[in-house]
Amino acid sequence: MPKRTDIQSILIIGAGPIVIGQACEFDYSGTQACKALKDEGYRVILVNSNPATIMTDPGLADATYVEPITPEIVARVIERERPDALLPTMGGQTALNTARALSHDGTLEKFGVELIGADLTAIEKAEDRQQFREAMTAIALDTPRSRLINDFADAAEALDHVGLPAIIRPSYTLGGQGGGIAYNREEFEQIVRNGLRLSPSSEVLIEESVLGWKEFEMEVIRDRADNCIIVCSIENVDPMGVHTGDSITVAPALTLTDKEYQRMRNASIAVLREIGVETGGSNVQFAIDPATGRQIVIEMNPRVSRSSALASKATGFPIAKIAAKLAVGYTLDELDNDITGVTPASFEPTIDYVVTKIPRFTFEKFPGADARLTTSMKSVGEVMAIGRTFAESLQKALRGLETGLSGLDPVALKGAQDGEVDHQAVVAELTEPTSDRLLKVAQALRVGLSVDEVYRACHVDLWFLERIAEIIAAEESLVADGLPHDPAGWLTVKGLGFSDARLADLTDHDEGVVAGRRRGLGVRPVYKRIDTCAAEIPSQTPYMYSTYETGIGGQSAENEADPSDARKVVILGGGPNRIGQGIEFDYCCVHAAYALSEAGFETIMVNCNPETVSTDYDTSDRLYFEPLTAEDVIELVEVERSRGTVLGVIVQFGGQTPLKLAAALEEAQIPILGTSPDAIDLAEDRERFQKLLQRLELRQPHNGTATSSDQAEGIAEEIGYPVVIRPSYVLGGRAMEIVHDPDGLRRYMREAVVVSGNNPVLIDSFLRQATEIDVDAVADGTDVFIAGVMEHIEEAGIHSGDSACSLPPVSLEPDVIDEVKRQAAMLARGLNVIGLMNVQFAVKGDEVFILEVNPRASRTVPFVAKATGVAIAKIASRVMAGEKLADFALPDRDPDHVAVKEAVFPFARFPGSDIILGPEMKSTGEVMGIDRGFARAFAKSQVAGGTVLPDRGTVFVSVKDSDKSALVEIARTLQSVGFSLMATAGTADALKAAGIDSHRVKKVLEGRPHIVDNMLSGHVDLVINTTEGAQAIRDSFSLRHTALTHNIPYYTTVEGARAAVRAIEALRGGHLEVTPLQTYLVGSF
């Protein structure tokens, strides 16, 4: 069947901001879908509020709406664009739920929009837990015993039916949100209440537990002719009970006989047919009882998912691209397998290596959060590694995680201290799924537990445990006998995936010595290709991974890298997503690849994050799927250098990850493109940076560096409290705090950091009530282009990544803006920046202070590009490769529209943690609101970020003294537009004094009914609460917590509140209009 000609335009809904459970895998899928459909000549209309995505680059769709993804807004896009079809399967749960709402409210019918890929019945059959169960029964597939409830009243009966422990699974939620495992009645009732609240259809499935069973996923594709293929099978190393997104997983499945595998394959296909997914990719999850082989179906996702991104990268089969083409009528046999170029897409990839995925967590940023892994997803990113054996891929993944591991590094076990091993205690520890359980498993084996003991504790399949035991055994002989003496011995340990760094630890040498010995014996990795067919058909695509072929083949191992003789640029990616380093940096790397290919270079991408666009085989000319460590990167660059010329490596685009490698690369005489690592160090090194500022006569807050607690106190006294304090060299403001007094300082030095000679703490005088400004610029050594000046909404003190900001600035005086531009330019020249630079300023009165300079790509680069229409990452990369800014046409004035960036937070996933913002970054993603004026742009950013601003009702206000004056005006406006006010005593007095009446309400500690009672009874529609000081923060925690868990919109800064009030006013002035980027940015590109 050829492609459909009865449709001309197609609407694609993106996934919106990066949140836990929906990360950049949906940029990968959306980007592939846009490209694929545009290639087919369709008019592609895109809605996605996330400016950091590649898919929202104006070139990828014909009309790109960076607008909130809500049914109302998308309906307006539909009304304006009149698409013939809507493809809802590329934007995760967000797109699916929005599409569902749009069919229910009749919008799709009204404008004659056809759902392609998955229709309403299919979506509901798959996502509605009850309908899904019935569907499974209809095709004789087994599911766990369960009861669906819509009302808490039925919970008890349901529990009697399934018994404890019980699994609670809400319908239509994302990443298992609102679900959990209840081991007792209390937990049960609490989780069920939460689940009912979070499920869009307020229904939860109460289910019999199959904890400890093996969990599998199948990635299935179906076309209109009912051809079905399995792209990849995935086995979870963590058994049932840990969300697949939080589980360590391997591909392909490794512990199934063919009979079991074919049963699962048949079941997967039967599920797609029964659910009615006519075309596209789906993911089906199974559980298998290891003792009896009993197979049950867990769920299916009728869309591309995190797992399909993983499956695509693991096999080379571009699921999203193919799914998009199937949605417009092609059949699999009509589409090519790009990798081989000569065979069709209608086949099942087969692989000759093992893929391991390990999730990355960020619990340290959310004190109070429950760090146990459950059925609700908590990880913020993942790393994937490829090796010829499980051991090799596992150890590559561990070092790729970038959490300081070089392999299965030792960890502390409570049950095994100073030689004493209490088996019971260790077993107890292993029973609890945690983010580092695999390391604990290894440690348990190290301290002498048997594989069977460990198995009984954690139910990780024996096959995996035995492989880990083999690694531990190898470690023991390395410790005993030191490094191998002959190539064969070396190849054997390297073949197990040991990094030089890990070998160095084990044999206590330093890494350089280990690498030297290894290379001295000619032991080097070879590169194999990912070709979808286990070498049966020659591959056209240089998509590669490294491996050490085992010791005694008797032949020189075969290297398939086959480097070209071109002029090459190597781009180092950002590795796994984490808070502080996410999709924004991948965006920059992808732009570097695009721009440099256009400029005629061969682009070589190195990254290990399967969710990204950068790891698509067609983003760069050559792709190495490798951990971003010095060892792995240097080895592959040497191979590339063996032919042609490597012009240099770009380390400034992938965030902190590649930057950390700069020194090692230079040592290996590998040229770095653009700003020199020394300049980067100059910006990061306190002393050197200070000298520079003095030379340039620029100001920074009073500051000092302390290597001991006493020294720190001395410096703080001299600077004067409050001070901002942090360890040196951190990203995302890790462990950064504002301390108000000596006690606070001592506590910080005691609890937050370990200071020493070579890792000191940095202490800055905290600038109160200063306006923070971000500036992004591109410099070429001669000229400096100021690409964007962003005024933060929240005052300095809230991490730049967490505060909302406006481009162009809303309230800054023109001369202040000129001044920061001038200073930014001076810094660019002073640091001799070649490429991108980001500066953060704080403006107090008319004084301008420099907070920090990052002579590298920053988090705001994509936002600036989307807001101004200038592709600065592309320009910067070409400048780094030698071109001059003068060669580009650059605008010289700000746009006349306003773009507002707002951050999105994962607090809802970590109920125990506080929602107040500070200098440590906590947001996972961002949205952009763009409109003619600030108020509406800000309103859009709030809506897009999921904050539903009320247009009437009661506002609760309770602010710290320093904010009281500012609050007055806010309160007055609120009252004037008809809100009633509720305030705590102090705040109420302040308002009274200004002649504003408010209803007084008790603080939580003042007896009942207090504010939380009022919130719980639904009397509060908006919360404005600012606090400072440990005590006050602790006392007011419960009210913020209630706002969070009961989705009551809240603002924890007075500036945020002010902007919100302006937005509320604007919203009352008429509903939000939608306009495509292409209209705002007319002329540019």
Partner: protein, 395 residues
């Protein structure tokens, strides 16, 4: 290919720890760690790209005369059991792996693959860059080789090379006879099913046979017979050498031509004349793999040796009549020459990998055959429908 670094002269020194070697006719010596039986086997070196079902593959009689390189690195994970056999005594000659065989981890496992290989007197070798070997086979064709497992690490490379060089090759080799049954027997076992308690898993038994099929055994895989039985057919299995008369005397409702090893032309010498008679008998006929090639020869077409053959469980085949694509299990090194097909024969199935003939039908006669393995085991079951199609022809 073969590259000099790889070409071992007879004085090649043996790497420490090597307990097995594969020596190819051109002298290439590939060393590894031996497992399975400590014996030497000589044959054609092929590869299989399946990621599951190694035991079914090793017991598929069509692998007679072949040493199998598994492209998936971890083989043996799920051990071996008494159920996943496609024949009593494996006809393949041994296997070559990337990673060492590990202890089994699966509730169905009864012993380790290593034991199992030893018990069937099959050698194996691990620690080989199997991807490199596979690429060599892909580019230069399936070589002849001698696989030797010697725990003491002592090999006579020259002698092994000689063995490989002297091995006549599959062309002209009639191997069907060597793997075919020697006496007629009856088959009533049906397909595998899982019982959720893990105890009652197993094959079924045919209760009330509706039809009678005579299967000519060129090296039949049991799952073919199980599929026939599952269609309600009582199956009588006769040796490859059975005459048309012997077959017809059994009064079958239909005749099945099984898969098998070796060169179709060689087996055809005695099989084809008999088949011609059977074709003329007007009885429904269904052939698979070698059976398909025998049928084609009997219809006047020719077969030829393929460069590297089709061996895997992911091969897309298009049913030209329905337009549907099936993912198939394949194992063949010879193929029917399309140009040589008489015009009474229609091509019904085609490989989407290389366009070769995968299925044919005789116009106006209840006769059809496929080159691939619709019985799967191992592999996808997409093509089981062909057995139902055959059943319909039986009336």
């Amino acid at each position: 290919m073969p590259d000099p670094a790889a070409t071992a002269e007879t004085d090649t020194e043996i790497p420490a720890g090597a307990t097995a070697v594969l020596v190819l006719a051109d002298g290439t010596a590939i060393f590894g760690r031996g497992f399975g039986a400590a014996v030497t086997r000589v044959g054609e070196v092929v590869f299989n790209t399946s990621m599951t079902g190694y035991q079914e593959i090793l017991t598929d009689p069509s692998y007679a005369g072949q040493i199998i390189t598994f492209t998936f690195p971890h083989v043996g994970n799920v051990g071996a059991n008494a159920d996943d056999h496609e024949t009593t005594t494996p006809a393949s000659l041994g296997c070559i792996l990337r990673a060492d065989i590990t202890a089994a981890s699966n509730y169905r496992a009864q012993r380790s693959l290593d034991d199992w290989l030893r018990s069937h007197d099959l050698p194996g070798q691990a620690g080989v860059d199997t991807r490199r070997l596979t690429r060599r086979i892909r580019d230069a064709g399936a070589p002849h080789g001698a696989l030797c497992h010697a725990p003491d690490g002592k090999f006579d490379l020259a002698a092994l090379r000689q063995l490989a060089a002297d091995w006549p090759g599959l062309e002209g080799m009639d191997l069907a006879k060597t793997v075919s049954c020697t006496q007629t027997y009856h088959w009533d076992q049906t397909l595998w099913s899982f019982a959720d308690d893990g105890q009652g898993d197993g094959y079924g038994a045919l209760a009330a046979p509706a039809k009678h099929v005579v299967a000519i055994d060129y090296g039949a895989k049991r799952n073919i017979l199980r599929n026939l039985a599952a269609q309600g057919c009582r199956v009588t299995v006769v040796p490859a050498t059975a005459t048309a008369q012997e077959v017809l005397d059994l009064a079958p409702d239909g005749i099945f031509l099984a898969n098998g090893p070796g060169d179709p032309a060689a087996t055809g010498v005695y099989a084809v004349p008999e088949l011609r008679t059977l074709i003329d008998s007007g009885k429904p006929i269904f052939g698979i793999c070698l059976g398909h090639q025998m049928l084609a020869l009997a219809l006047g077409a020719e077969t030829e040796k393929m460069h590297m053959g089709h061996r895997g469980a992911n091969h897309p085949v298009k049913d030209l009549e329905t337009g549907k694509v099936e993912i198939t299990s394949q194992n063949h090194g010879f193929v029917v020459k399309e140009a040589s097909l008489p015009d009474t024969v229609t091509v019904t199935h085609r490989s989407l990998f290389d366009g070769t003939v995968e299925g044919i039908r005789v116009e106006g006669k209840p006769i059809f055959s496929v080159q691939y393995h619709p019985e799967a085991s191992p592999g996808p079951m997409d093509s089981h429908y062909l057995f139902a199609r055959f059943r319909e022809l039986l009336g």
